[in-house]
Assembly symmetry: C2
Homo-oligomer: 263 residues x 2
């Protein structure tokens, strides 16, 4: 059994890579991953074979990782954030599932020992930077309609609005997709106030990181890009100032009720 | 400005504590945290003041951490998992908010430099152990009605059912609370098949960790305890066997559609 590690390395700086993720990468002879995320690993990449693939060739990257491991190379398939959350891990299991159904070759894949290693996801970093927006019930929705039909996405946005979840939007916009986020905003405005705090977190963990708060009514896809996470508060999420700082947090129910009753 | 670190140390083993979390704990002179989670830190606790508080005194722990930091002690408030997800961080910000409203003393709190340090949450570990259940849209719901009224929780379960989210249930049961999880199961069975895979993850990261899969129809609160995370798949989540292993994953839309069309 040759290990294939599916590794999430967190939002983009070395301080958030777990020891388990580093151990897996150090143990691997072959690394499959997109260049942008790999700078982080620096000298740890010395002596390893690095198989780069462009974004958009994700299934090919997953298949390459399986084939390398089945050929006996200890392999790490690496992505930023948590590889299990809107990321590469699920593609590997899709390929195993297809091999079961005879739609993939899959020769030797049964000799691979797959281990999934979670990492800090963008939503967690965005929330942490400004406090604790994920302190109560939340959901995560990808707005990419490349692989999911828009009606399915729209139904999820409506459900999230009905359930009053804090919402992390992954893949909020792309060059080709510019209206979905504004549509989501308009759906949410039917259930939440115009003042609902929205966290906009760009380039998390990188030197040009920028995390800001806007009102839900002011959220505009024109100012958001692919590398941004958008997190919309629930009806109880609070945006406060204290001393020189500002914070966004979602209280547990009881404390909020007391505050509401006395203010 | 004295730092107050709000630190998540992950699900329960040293391999998942990030360097940022370790640095904060090493920098602190005072550690506020519940004993169960602190064993992990071992010798790192040497020479530090450890302020233990029992579970259930959560607000008191948060206030203590603020008061220690405002008195000039570099303090780390520590919890397992991600301190920003259904955990202590939000209590600290609730207290700041109350101080603004004159409901807390808050003297000196404006001199504190609060930094939130995220950690791997139980849902991520549960998903990783069996593959990639969180590969597509998901939500997290706490079933604790200590602080949230049951009708609010029920509305969230119904919304999650309607939106076909993968659902991570935190605090699924307690000694006092044994029917909510079964009610949630019954709501979900109106929208999902009896065969929907459910991950039951107990004592994650600890030596007696046990992660199993049951059918949604077989989910029963009688076999779940407080230290368990329950994750219910969406209508597209797959439970597969490959070689000697079993996996649970939630595919991206497109791949699943192809598999469905050809099988």
């Amino acid at each position: 059994m040759t290990p294939l590690y599916l590794v999430g390395i967190g939002p983009g700086d070395a301080a958030h890579i777990t020891p388990e993720a580093l151990d897996a990468i150090e143990h691997a002879s072959d690394i499959v991953g997109y260049g942008l995320y790999m700078d982080l690993l620096g000298e740890r990449m010395n002596g390893k074979r690095h198989h780069k693939r462009d974004l958009g060739e994700e299934t090919e990257r997953a298949r390459l990782a399986l084939d390398l491991a089945s050929a006996g190379h200890v392999t790490a398939l690496v992505s930023s954030g948590d590889i299990g959350i809107f990321a590469m891990a699920t593609l590997v299991f899709e390929l195993l599932d297809k091999a079961n159904q005879g739609e993939e070759n899959g020769r030797g894949w049964e000799r691979i020992d797959i281990r999934v290693i979670p990492g800090i996801s963008a939503m967690q970093m965005a929330s942490a930077r400004l406090g604790a927006a994920m302190g109560h019930d939340f959901c995560a929705i990808s707005l990419s309609d490349l692989l999911t039909p828009w009606p399915t996405i729209e139904r999820r946005i409506e459900a999230a609005a009905m359930g009053d979840f804090v919402i992390a939007f992954y893949n909020p916009v792309s060059k080709r997709r510019d209206w979905q986020l504004n549509h989501a905003r308009d759906v949410l405005l039917t259930q939440r106030s115009a003042d609902t705090p929205v966290i906009i977190a760009r380039d998390l963990g990188r030197t040009d990181e920028a995390v800001t708060v806007v009102r839900l009514a002011d959220l505009d896809a024109a100012y958001i890009d692919m590398l941004t996470l958008v997190m919309v508060g629930s009806t109880t999420t609070r945006h406060i100032r204290f001393g020189r700082n500002e914070w966004v947090y979602t209280p547990r129910g009881y404390e909020q009720k007391r505050a509401g009753a006395s203010s």
